[in-house]
């Protein structure tokens, strides 16, 4: 029999430190699969953030550089402008991209920086221990919204994809989820397209990934994957939010 599914070449043989059922692991996997399939290993540079995925460089077998919290888009901007031949992606969580780094993200997008943001939205601050994120759902309990997020106090879950779609320099924005075989395949397609948009120099691309965090959601892995379908997508609907390419799928 033939081996039809195995570990991607650009994924190092290091066990993930992520919790069981975590969406980071899935995302790393499909990204490294794409880096292999698109033959990008020797020109891709990743900018992981502080947070759970700070150790992403232990897994991606590509050049990577840590950035300060929220500054990924600015670091990627400097890197890409200094070395335009590189394929540069930021890997950012919701606190990173949608709170502390909102300005950097919106302006990099508005300048049409030819970079790709991989935006992990799990509605919670993971590494610091389950505090409220800008994307935490209303009435969702976190360690800093112990009675549930209240819009009168904490405001509303912020929708970065919709915001960035309004910004003229953005080229491609899609929201996906990594909580089922079909969704994972769609997520991979979206990231492929985002990379292709960058290769074609069309401007800023972002894939928002609804990503399970069983530990901080206080659920089993399977429950957390279901919760995305049952609850989270109602606030964050999946699909292409902006696409200037006019093509349904990328090459």
């Amino acid at each position: 029999m033939k081996k039809i599914y195995t570990r991607p070449k650009s994924l190092k043989r290091t066990p993930f430190h992520y919790c069981p059922g975590c969406g980071h692991s899935i995302t790393h996997k499909i990204m490294t699969e794409l880096i292999d399939e698109m033959n990008l290993q020797d020109k891709t540079i990743g900018i992981p953030p502080p947070g759970c995925s700070v150790f992403a460089y232990n897994y991606f077998d590509i050049d990577m550089a840590e950035s300060a919290h929220g500054r990924g888009a600015a670091v990627a901007t400097g890197l890409k402008r200094a070395y335009p031949e590189a394929i540069v992606f930021t890997y950012q969580g919701d606190g990173d991209l949608a709170a502390i780094g909102t300005a950097e993200t919106i302006h990099a997008s508005n300048r049409g920086e030819n970079i790709t943001a991989i935006f992990i939205n799990n509605a919670v601050y993971g590494m610091t221990g389950g505090q409220m994120a800008p994307t935490t759902l209303l009435s969702q309990k976190t360690t800093t919204t112990p009675y549930g997020r209240d819009d009168k106090i904490e405001g509303y879950p912020i929708k970065m994809s919709e915001i960035l779609a309004l910004v003229k320099g953005s080229a491609y924005i899609e929201r996906v989820a990594v909580n089922s075989p079909a969704n994972i395949i769609k997520a991979k397609k979206a990231i492929r397209k985002a990379f292709q948009v960058q290769i074609d120099c069309l401007g800023f691309s972002m894939v928002e990934i609804l990503s399970p965090c069983p530990t901080n959601w206080k659920m089993s892995p399977v429950e957390s994957w279901k919760w995305i379908d049952e609850v989270m997508v109602k606030e964050f609907p999946l699909g292409v939010i902006k696409d200037i390419t006019g093509k349904k799928d990328a090459g």
């Binding site: 029999m1 033939k2 081996k3 039809i4 599914y5 195995t6 570990r7 991607p8 994924l11 066990p15 993930f16 992520y18 919790c19 069981p20 059922g21 975590c22 969406g23 692991s25 899935i26 996997k29 089922s180 075989p181 994972i184 395949i185 069983p214 089993s220 892995p221 399977v222 994957w225």
Partner: protein
């Protein structure tokens, strides 16, 4: 038997995602603990596996290799 899978017992974290998604119910969690202390998944090799690779697609740990033939 159309296909089979190999589960890396070191990488597996026993999250049971594969168990949940396997269309044929071929993967079960076991009582076996791996070096990290997780109850690892085991493949029930009774020839119903089609090698569809859904388990591998969803496996967060990239612990599953799929064979088909």
């Amino acid at each position: 038997m159309k296909g089979y899978i190999e589960i890396d017992q070191v990488l597996c974290k026993g999250c049971e995602i594969c168990t949940f998604f396997c269309p044929k119910g071929m993967i079960n969690s076991s009582d076996k603990l791996n070096p990290s202390g997780y109850r690892v998944a085991v493949f029930n090799d009774n020839s119903e596996c089609t090698g569809c690779a859904i388990c591998a697609v969803v496996c967060p740990e990239v612990a599953i290799e799929v064979y088909r033939g």
